[in-house]
Symmetry: C2
Subunit: 274 residues, 2 copies
């Protein structure tokens, strides 16, 4: 295994506004600065669009502790697989190749890259009451097949990973892409986990982009988790998990701009370190 000092795990958000072509060009420009580079992507916007087009719009639910997630019944799982592992993974891989990056797309199902545990039921808050939802196909990751990632890297491929896992019962699961990226970063003992999204980082007064918090240390994560809302909560949770797994730093940064990777590596965004 190569030195972890130059391993970057880069997660590209699937939210509207994230500029895939610009990110791909910047990855191509900077790929040789990293000894190992692994890409993880989301796909929420595309999954929403496909769900709407198929007459099965997304339903977002909030857990008692305030985390938002996509309620994933059987039909939503199928939509998520098609939009995220089908469309986005393929087009992102092709876009990277057109920029000169030797990209290879897989999901956590492939070769059991990500094994997860299905949540038998999820508790949600709705209209001030707690409810239990079943038939949910989301999960949390229990193990990463690091040998597979390493062997692809050694053969010269840049893995592009879609956020699905496989359960012990061989069911595909929808898993959160930020936490996937965190788990992979920890399993590779990466130097840096970068989460590119449609805001400049953690904001002290969302949505005021001038209120960017540029540095946080591990002791401040708990208050950051209380400060942020919506999808940013999962990113901060991912950051916490990555640092607990010995990743040196996590950068949450803007994926809408030119040269997003280089700028984030050079002080853009919110850097969280231990």
């Amino acid at each position: 295994m190569k030195s972890s000092a130059k391993t970057l795990v880069l997660k590209i958000g699937g939210t509207e506004g994230v500029n895939f072509p610009s990110i791909c060009k910047d990855i191509a420009r900077t790929v040789n600065e990293h000894e190992r580079l692994v890409i993880v992507h989301g796909g929420s916007q595309k999954a929403n669009d496909l769900g709407e087009a198929l007459g099965h719009p997304p339903r977002f639910v909030t857990s008692p502790s305030g985390f938002t997630s996509r309620y994933t019944d059987r039909k939503t799982l199928e939509i998520f697989i098609m939009a995220v592992n089908g469309y986005l993974n393929t087009t992102l891989t092709a876009e990277l190749q057109s920029s000169g990056v030797n990209a290879l797309g897989i999901s956590g199902v492939d070769g059991k890259l990500l094994v997860g545990r299905r949540k038998p039921a999820i508790r949600i808050n709705e209209n001030g009451r707690q409810k239990v939802l079943r038939d949910d196909h989301t999960g949390t990751i229990t193990s990463v097949n690091t040998a597979l990632v390493d062997s692809l890297l050694e053969e010269g491929y840049i893995p592009v990973i879609a956020p699905l896992a496989i359960s012990e019962q061989s069911e595909p699961l929808n898993v959160d892409a930020d936490r996937v990226a965190a788990m992979i970063a920890a399993s590779l003992q990466a130097d840096t986990l970068m989460l590119l999204t449609a805001v400049p980082g953690i904001l002290n007064a969302f949505p005021d982009e001038s209120s960017l918090i540029s540095k946080l240390d591990q002791s401040e994560i708990k208050s950051a988790l209380n400060l942020v809302q919506g999808r940013m909560k999962k990113k901060v949770l991912g950051a916490k998990e990555a640092l607990a797994g010995n990743v040196r730093r996590v950068i949450i940064a803007d994926g809408r701009i030119e040269h997003p990777v280089s700028k984030a590596l050079n002080g853009g965004g919110t850097e969280i370190s231990s």
Copy 2:
């Protein structure tokens, strides 16, 4: 590279009636009989269904030489990618894993596994007239990244390949799965290419299933190409290409039955050899 004497390339058709669970179980039962096993799949039925659901039903066109194909405009390409590389590749990979096979799904886009040439325009016969269609995203394969297939096999994974290719301009292309399987079989110098579909093999008097032709040699392929219609034509063309590429035999057999792989290897279906 291992001996080619025990290499099997198995293509699973995506037509209605093909029994995926039964095929996966039989693959698990027989996987150790092959030193190398590579799976290719189609997905026509699923792509048709998704196209209908999205208000963009499939359009099939026939070339002047009588070959039928899916006209693949930009929107159809997106549908094909989602249905075939998204849904089918993922669920087939998961189904194989649930049978105990260490499956890893990729498409021809990944790591440039299949490089193809896009057809700038296709000529079709429609109502007795020839027409030219543009904005078609189909292609023919020009090269196979055999090293990638070999390295996955050496790491202990069974590749499960979706029929997409990437053009020299890095555009994803819809490519025919039977011919993909033939190209991969030739590139691996496979002993056997097996095409499992929803008929028992080549029929002398379609659709009379009792008229199965059980053996053909290379000299009889030309007349077989004239005999068969519809999607079987591409299978016979694939068989011809595989034999020209030094594959020892091609078996076209029934994918609807129990133990389809074992039965085909033991004299079921139509065996075509040089």
